[in-house]
Amino acid sequence: MRIAVLLFARYSEVAGVSSIEVDVPPGATLSQVWEAVQARVPGLRRETAPLLARDRAYARSEQTVQPGDEIAAFPPVSGG
């Protein structure tokens, strides 16, 4: 299945895009989605612990994803 992943801040800058599509097997976890992103973007391969969100809420890497989910990956936040 095809999953779109939103990227922010340094991740987006490294990838050169703010969203990237990856193909993962049905029932894939967020962790597998991130690995697929890393395979596409060599500059992100050292990022082993991104913050992950599903449908605009923080999610753990073992959670599974479905087509249509809003998935995002980003570095530690620094607002304020």
């Binding site: 923080y58 980003f74 570095p75 620094s78 607002g79």
Partner: protein
Amino acid sequence: MPGLYRIQEGPLNLDEAVRAVAGPDRGAIATFLGIGRDHNAGRRVLRLEYQAYAAMAERVMREIGEEITERCGTPHTALLHRVGTVDIGEVSVIVAVAAAHRRQALAGCSHAIERLKAAVPIWKKEYFEGGAVWIEGPSGADPAGGPTSDSTR
């Protein structure tokens, strides 16, 4: 649902935040302003640029408002954060919490800015003489930590 939670481009307005939380049964309003600072980590900072995952940021801000309702007994919170370029001396974030009494308002304001910095998906890029760098918070932090998990921080 009382409260004001917004990511926006352009200058922030303290009066708007105060008006959003004020009311006749509230005898105290505590406010916090975060300001673009001209130095960090030994470097002279020229300007800041903020990016947000706005849809999620506003949702997490609203959850912080709910935490303050539970912890401090007041639902009257405003959180405004600017995105785009923030020059030195300009306001990047405003917190306002109103409550019947000062202790609730001050505690709520403090809790709000700490949780915002830990959990709201916003990032700061610092421009200094000779370069720019994304600032990133502590990587071991648990941004999902809610009202119970951060009570000892």
